[in-house]
Symmetry: C2
Subunit: 309 residues, 2 copies
Amino acid sequence: MKQKKIKGVLAPVITPFRQDLSPDGGRFAAHCKWLLAQGASGLAIFGTTSEANSLSVDERIVLFDELLAAGVPAERLMPGTGCCALTDSVRLGRHVVAKGCAGVLMLPPFYYKGVPEAGVFRSFAETIERVGDARLRIYLYHIPQVSQVPIPIALIERLRSAYPTAIAGIKDSSGDPANLRALLDAFAGTDFDVFPGSELLLLEGLRHGGAGCITATGNVNPGPIAKLYDNWRSADADAMQAGLDALRRAIQAFPMIPAVKATVAHCTGDDAWSRVRPPLVELDAGEKAQLAAALHKLGFEMPGIASLG
Amino acid sequence: MKQKKIKGVLAPVITPFRQDLSPDGGRFAAHCKWLLAQGASGLAIFGTTSEANSLSVDERIVLFDELLAAGVPAERLMPGTGCCALTDSVRLGRHVVAKGCAGVLMLPPFYYKGVPEAGVFRSFAETIERVGDARLRIYLYHIPQVSQVPIPIALIERLRSAYPTAIAGIKDSSGDPANLRALLDAFAGTDFDVFPGSELLLLEGLRHGGAGCITATGNVNPGPIAKLYDNWRSADADAMQAGLDALRRAIQAFPMIPAVKATVAHCTGDDAWSRVRPPLVELDAGEKAQLAAALHKLGFEMPGIASLG
């Protein structure tokens, strides 16, 4: 059952909501298809940017099944499946692996803080044993500023020793270039794939063996990010990186998830995209206008998005 | 449907697990009955000490129903129902309120950090609207060292203005006497009940209008804690408080949740009680021996517990 591992640019896909805050499977599938058409390698649905932890496990399973039914190929998906409860992580993991996903992106359990490394190890180990599917490929999700539970290199090494095939890579969302470099050095020459969690570190990562990136702004800018991934050895790679950085900075001047959603709303003319579930808060009218002005100044657009709105 | 509000000593009931880590409804009900027989006013099942966030919502609903079926009265229960996903909090909340619980203890959504107060407000407001049951009594759960999402007084006041009946009280697990005192002062003379999250602050709280306490060590020491609650104006109240403190300190010299479970295992002679779900880690043999020695030195026992093991 060996399949080629996913590399390149992945978007942690935003989750659209209807007025009653229920997940909108139709808009979700349309956006996923647009991302793939623009050059995204894959879709990291159910990540932080997706507000996945603000969805019940049942809601995630329904959305996932709707996406497959809409024709999005499972082998392009890397759903987030790491929950606080072992039984939830196992249930979600089993469901998506059975349908042929490229991999799963797993948070450690994130309610308790300061837990022993042995407890985090056991969380992943029990999940792997209980999913019990040789096709499982786990990408560890290191986002300490949110989860507050880091994934240190020693833990990865211990997990790789025990489960060399299942532990496939990591998303490093720390934003810390030193941590990214330490990961790339530690796993150089292995099949453990390291994805920075932002395109700000895409070129830096690729120059030291990185596998691509999994990035929130990949929701709106997948084409140019994929272009840098495909041409990172070219003479104008640094100029391309600078262009990506400028857009990223314009968006992250606002709270990231509402700002990514507001960008899609702006480019589609469909304000439904702005909705977030609490505890997040939608950008207000003034912030939306400032963001739109910043996007206009950069000449930013999402090619062909209006037809998919 | 007005019922008297619950006050006094509540235990955030530990959740026993079978060898396969499934929740053990039989041991759970036996322990709950022991706690009530010893003088606990109520049972804050599904709290932090209960490892509730390590259980799926379905597992919590099954355990809850088993507890009622075993004869534990709903009006003595204050289940934790605050989840990261609005839909989960609503589902759990609706279920337990419909069965007549005294109240629910609600964490704010705890995945995202640094969220605007308006987002936390909306989380509680949407939950109240969607549960849509006039019997709902919410006790806010302030445990910033774990949830990382605090419940400041301004937010409580805003919630009380909008939902004066539903917002019934708070559990302050910050452990900060200044925060406890600020809460007691802010809501003095109102029907908003303030419970410190530890018996270390029981007497201090009662002297300033506190409603009792909701405390992890209430799982093993409910009788003496309830005795202080019932006799806090007596001459030997400070001596009783000192006795409670000595036991608490012996237990919290170890990681609290595994240590409370190990104490029950030690007193019942039933080591199954020691089990925790990952990411928590059971005390090792050496720690268990040290804890047992410390309990022995204090002459501690759980009266009549063996027969309920």
